[in-house]
């Protein structure tokens, strides 16, 4: 009996550890296979892949800069619109609704549902509802009144950076607001009480004691939202126009790292396919960096509070 019992433990531990190791192996495998898949493109174009602006499948010339630009610009639009709104929701639920937990939970659930809507449905909605809406009520008025600014120049057509950025903003709000909410909810009440006892107003409590305390966690939420915006594929593919462009106009069609893969992969072969896989490799490293950073920030935040509690 004494020998049988540890054996069961060992078998279980080995099986479970194998499952855990599988995850590590998967991440390493991803890097290796994407590298192998893109090797011919990496050797042919070298570092110029990242800095050149030409994408000409007919001439076998491939550079990724237009897509890096498109990804950065659309993500920036998404963050500028989405982060303040997410922070607002988090403050509303965790500070204003503190004494109405049920209502706060309900509102949180509704916002969470936004995250459950599949990307392709955002895209469908974007094509048939958001594009006409933005084109007629935002882009055309802006173009007519402020068209001399390069940001609003060009031809407001609807399939452009701005629409992609707005769709992304809607899609990252649930992620950012959920994490911000969690972060604000672990701020100890003593922080708030100390501020109130000094005669502060509600906003001053939020601004001067809650937000600074939650700073690193909120930064984590910001980064996670950015990560989601970087990798989002289908909705962006459907509304951005998919023309590799570097333009200062928000009303110009463009393409992002992920949208170009989704849009052109099925028609690609040879070096063209290899170049698209290299774009995937870039996405892999960006995602690794961003998500790793966000997790470290959030881990530090939650671990710190556990120690205090």
């Amino acid at each position: 009996l004494r020998f049988r019992l540890p054996r069961g433990d060992t078998i279980l531990k080995i099986l479970l550890a194998a499952a855990a190791l599988f995850i590590i192996g998967l991440v390493i495998g991803l890097a290796v296979e994407l590298y192998l898949g893109s090797a011919s493109s990496i050797f042919k174009f070298g570092p110029s892949f990242l800095v050149g602006s030409k994408w000409q499948p007919t001439n076998n010339v491939f550079n990724a800069l237009p897509f890096i630009y498109g990804t950065l610009l659309t993500s920036a639009i998404a963050i500028v619109i989405g982060f303040p709104i997410s922070l607002g929701i988090a403050i509303f639920i965790s500070e204003k609704l503190k004494s109405h937990q049920t209502f706060g939970y309900l509102l949180g659930t509704i916002v969470d549902l936004l995250a459950a809507v599949p990307s392709v449905i955002y895209g469908l909605w974007g094509v048939f509802v958001l594009i006409p809406l933005l084109r007629d009520y935002v882009e055309k008025p802006l173009h007519n009144s402020l068209g001399f600014i390069s940001l609003f120049s060009g031809h407001p057509f609807g399939y452009d950076f701005l629409t992609a950025g707005v769709i992304l903003a809607i899609m990252i709000i649930p992620t950012m607001s959920a994490v911000s909410r969690d972060v604000l909810s672990v701020v100890p009440n003593s922080q708030r009480e100390a501020m109130y006892s000094l005669g502060a107003t509600d906003w001053e409590v939020t601004q001067k004691s809650v937000l600074p305390y939650a700073k690193s966690g909120l930064f984590g939420a910001f980064i996670l939202g950015l990560g989601r915006a970087f990798g989002e594929t289908m909705a962006v593919t459907m509304v951005i126009g998919n023309i590799p462009t570097i333009s200062s106009s928000l009303f110009s069609p463009g393409a992002t790292l992920s949208s170009i893969i989704a849009n052109e992969f099925s028609e690609s072969s040879g070096i063209f396919q290899s170049a698209l896989i290299e774009i995937g490799l870039i996405l892999f490293f960006v995602a690794l960096l961003i998500n790793g950073l966000a997790r470290l920030l959030l881990w530090r935040m939650t671990r710190g509070t556990q120690v205090k509690a």
Binding site: A19, L26, G37, V117, P118, V120, G123, F230
Partner: protein
């Protein structure tokens, strides 16, 4: 002395200036505007999908194969079957591995493998799904030169795996340590304690994670697009190109035909009903008292 105390007290309330009051009110209003701005798109999207999708749905739409543009009677039967097939394959692969890894994260939390793996797992959760699709394309489609439901299922299993592992780990960590100690004190070996006591207590959380992962996989497009492609027929085996609801919506929404676009809305309604059904089920029944089990994390 008594008089001094009274005067200090009476001075206090007047110290909140008008400006500070205005700022306070203004910020409250801004915060409420933020909430409204976030809820409007959700209502618009759900409303549009219902209003535009409902007319397209009929028994025939759910049971027929697709037809050519402007030929009436087209349906999404093969897409529904394809989606369930691929999510099924994905679940078969990801549930055992994900649950196993999750148990390891919780029960051997101090092990080095556990720390590294759970960190990698968190990173993997935030990965763009199209990268996972590319990975499966390189390891399966390139050598076999054949798009298939099998490859699509594998790609989806990588989407599900980190979600299942994470929720399993988080929910098992909530099982009180005293239960484990009580079980061990009765002489029950650790493996039995883990499998019967810990999993038995935390099984709701486990189920939540699996359901959330299934919902997420059902709504994925990009990985399937690169691995299973699509088809206008029922697939004869899992080693053939296979249609799915999401790729159907993508192809039909971006087509120039009005009849196809209407069908895209119909398929979107079917998809959203499946997804929201799964999510509400989780939220309303078992997910309520669990933290850290959100879909997007």
């Amino acid at each position: 002395l008594r008089g001094v105390v009274v005067t200090t007290k009476s001075n206090l309330p007047t110290s909140i200036s008008l400006w500070r009051k205005i700022v306070n009110k203004l910020m409250t209003i801004l915060v409420i505007i933020a909430v409204v701005l976030a809820v409007i798109p959700l209502l618009l999207i759900l409303g549009d999908v219902f209003v535009r999708g409902a007319p397209a749905i009929s028994i025939g739409f759910l049971t027929h194969l697709p037809t050519a543009p402007n030929v009436p009677g087209g349906g999404i039967a093969n897409a529904i079957v394809g989606t369930f097939t691929m999510v099924g394959i994905a679940a078969l692969i990801s549930v055992p591995i994900g649950v196993g890894a999750g148990i390891f994260f919780s029960e051997w939390a101090t092990s080095k493998i556990s720390t590294v793996s759970s960190f990698m797992n968190d990173v993997l959760t935030g990965f763009p799904s199209i990268v996972l699709g590319l990975f499966v394309f390189v390891i399966i489609i390139l050598p076999t030169k054949q798009f298939s439901a099998f490859a699509g299922g594998i790609a989806l299993s990588f989407v599900m795996l980190p979600i299942i592992a994470r929720t399993t780990g988080e929910s098992l960590k909530l099982v009180p340590m005293t239960l484990r100690e009580a079980s061990m004190a009765l002489g029950i070996p650790r493996w039995k304690t883990v499998l019967r006591i810990v999993i038995g207590t935390g099984k709701n959380g486990l189920l939540t994670g699996i359901l959330l992962a299934v919902a997420r996989a059902t709504g994925e497009t990009a990985p399937i697009l690169l691995t299973a492609s699509t088809s206008i027929y029922f697939a004869k085996s899992i080693f053939q190109p296979t249609a799915s609801l999401t790729v159907f919506i993508y192809n039909y929404a971006t087509s120039p035909y009005a009849s196809w676009q209407t069908q895209a809305w119909g398929a979107a309604l079917v998809l959203i009903l499946i997804m929201l059904g799964l999510n509400l089920l989780v939220k309303l029944t078992i997910g309520r008292n669990l933290t850290g089990t959100r879909l997007e994390l």
